[in-house]
């Protein structure tokens, strides 16, 4: 398996909205903590070390 960098979320605007809403009313510190937890939860779901490395690489390249 390789990292899917093609559109994959059926409702991109809706997801983006939900992501921002999750941060509503949080301080910078709380938001940073939420992001960190979210990354860990998602990373665990993906599980595959190869894909996780590709994802890190993709995020770093921009």
């Amino acid at each position: 398996m390789t990292l899917n960098t093609q559109p994959n979320i059926p409702d991109p605007d809706g997801f983006y909205d939900t992501l921002l809403a999750a941060h509503d009313g949080l301080t910078k510190g709380q938001s940073d903590a939420l992001n960190a937890r979210l990354i860990l939860v998602l990373a665990n779901h993906i599980g595959d070390r190869g894909i996780l490395s590709e994802a890190l690489e993709a995020a770093r390249q921009t």
């Binding site: 940073d32 903590a33 960190a36 990354i39 860990l40 939860v41």
Partner: protein
């Protein structure tokens, strides 16, 4: 005064003058070991039990009082068992299985090590290092009384070392003045500050962790359970970044506070200050006595090579780790285990000197594994940046309700022995057997129904036949092969050594690591594996 830089817990080898000191020319010894710490004593004892004479020189007259190691792993107990000190350790030690992790004022989760069945020794014991060392010394004295060629000299401070192609010459200082001896090989087990390393101008590179740990051993009869309690960010005034509570024998508890980098060391070591911290940490009104306190900083580093000609480094002199994961003494004991049989064969002329290079190859590899593990633990305990702290605390927050985050919580990955995968002494794997018993692995113990497997592997090359009878093998130029047959394997033995195979032959090194395994092997195949395992190819 010569030697004696620290107070003793047990005086075990008081200075006495020996004839070497008044000899005209330096007296020659096959092996001299510098340092009578746990690793020097274990190495000397192992050599002597194999019949190779060993002389240990220590700058003190016994075991120091300082409280350092408390956590000893199964592999260490197995090695100590082979040396005759294991039962005393297990009897005195505290066995623990449950650990609890706290963050702030609440418990995050707890775990049970659930040790695997079918092992003679527990996964871990807690035991004060002075006891550990004393039991090794007791075994040494028993070996000496039984006529084994071992000697230890107290207040013999090594002050100079030189080597040429044929021998090493040591300068030694004593209360009666200096003398010198020569040796075929010298093993430097003189600790993290190794004077031998300095005398030879060798470097010791690595990382210092910018953190101070206050270690307090307190005696109290309070009724805490025998568990390992680890707090991240405990809710204490002038909060230490972490705290640890762990039980030792004699109603002594190890308390550890992580104080950070910028501290007033002297003020922190004042009894009143220490009591203030402990009073706040323990339940109200708990009575206790301070047994030992000290502040340590930790580093992870190793020598580039553990062998320099006829001088070989073992234990803390060769590598140092932070104590999270208890990989200091535990890995040093594996150095001793690895080195003694090799040096014994070389001294007896049964294997080439090149066999000693495999000590460096295997143990430097193990040191890297240990350093990696303790560095990762230290990074989790002491986040190095704002973001690493955010992630660390995210892991701790999630761990309370989400099982997936618990394995990421790292307060030390407890020491397990190294598998020498892909190393030059490994022979063939022609069994298709279980992963954990592939060549290079330390033999896992197994319950045989009437005893334990490791008790059958007594420091010699062993041909182990499982589910079949071993044939005798003639050995190889002075190296004898001992046969053990277990024709009716127990379930644990089958599970660990056969897997789906109906029967197997294993060739096992004197240090209980696996050389090669087959479903069936010809005498030539076994001979070839023996040659490989003794660097004769």
């Amino acid at each position: 005064m010569v030697g004696a830089t620290y107070a003793l817990a047990h005086e075990l080898y008081p200075y006495t003058a020996v004839p070497d000191q008044s000899a005209q020319a330096p007296v020659h010894h096959p092996v001299v070991i510098i340092g009578g710490g746990p690793i020097g004593v274990a190495t000397g004892l192992d050599l002597a039990q194999k019949g190779s004479p060993a002389l240990i020189l220590d700058d003190h007259e016994g075991v120091g009082q300082g409280s350092r190691a408390i956590c000893f792993a199964k592999r260490t107990l197995e090695i100590a068992d082979r040396l005759g000190a294991g039962p005393d350790m297990v009897e005195k030690g505290v066995v623990w299985n449950v650990g609890r992790v706290f963050h702030g004022d609440g418990e995050v989760f707890n775990f049970n090590l659930l040790p695997e069945d079918g092992h003679k020794n527990p996964a871990f014991i807690n035991l004060q290092q002075p006891y550990f060392e004393k039991f090794l010394m007791d075994a040494l004295r028993r070996a000496e009384a039984a006529g084994k060629p071992i000697e230890i000299r107290g207040r013999n401070v090594v002050t100079g070392i030189e080597q040429d192609e044929d021998r090493v010459t040591l300068q030694i200082d004593t209360p009666d003045g200096p003398y010198s001896v020569t040796a075929d090989y010298v093993i430097a087990c003189d600790g993290a500050r190794s004077p031998t390393r300095d005398l030879m101008g060798l470097s010791f590179e690595g990382r210092v962790f910018e953190d101070n740990f206050l270690i307090a051993d307190v005696k109290m009869t309070a009724d805490f359970p025998t568990e390992r309690w680890f707090w991240f960010e405990p809710p204490l005034a002038e909060a230490p970044q972490s705290a640890l509570l762990h039980k030792q024998p004699d109603d002594v508890w190890r308390i550890d506070f992580q104080l950070g980098w910028d501290i007033d060391r002297k003020a922190e070591l004042e009894e009143g200050r220490i009591r203030q911290r402990i009073d706040e940490f323990l339940p109200n009104g708990t009575e206790y006595e301070l047994v030992w306190t000290s502040i340590y900083t930790f580093q992870c580093r190793r020598m580039e090579r553990f062998r320099h000609g006829r001088v070989i480094f073992a234990g803390d002199s060769a590598h140092q780790v932070s104590p999270f994961g208890a990989r200091g003494a535990n890995s040093g004991m594996q150095d001793a285990d690895n080195l003694a049989w090799k040096l014994d064969l070389v001294l007896k002329g049964h294997a080439p000197d090149g066999l000693l290079d495999s000590y460096n190859e295997e143990r430097a590899f193990a040191a890297d594994e240990n350093i990696l593990n303790s560095t990762r633990a230290t990074d989790f305990l002491t986040p190095k940046s704002e973001m690493s702290k955010i992630f660390r605390n995210a892991v701790l927050t999630l761990a309370k309700d989400q099982a997936f985050a618990r394995p990421m919580v790292n307060s030390g990955r407890l020491s397990v022995p190294c598998t020498y995968d892909g190393h030059s002494l490994n022979g063939e794997d022609r069994l298709g057997g279980p992963e954990r018993t592939r060549p290079g692995s330390p033999c896992p113990d197994a319950d045989l129904g009437n005893g334990f497997l490791l008790d059958q592997l007594t420091g010699r090359f062993t041909l182990l036949a499982i589910g079949t009878e071993a044939r005798d093998h003639p050995g190889l130029a002075g190296i004898r092969v001992h046969s053990v047959s277990l024709p009716n394997p127990s379930d644990t033995l089958r599970d660990r050594y056969l897997g789906a195979a109906p029967h197997a032959l294993y060739l096992i090194r004197p240090d209980q690591h696996i050389v090669a395994r087959w479903r069936d092997a010809t005498a030539e195949q076994i001979t070839q594996a023996l040659k490989t395992a003794t660097a004769q190819t």
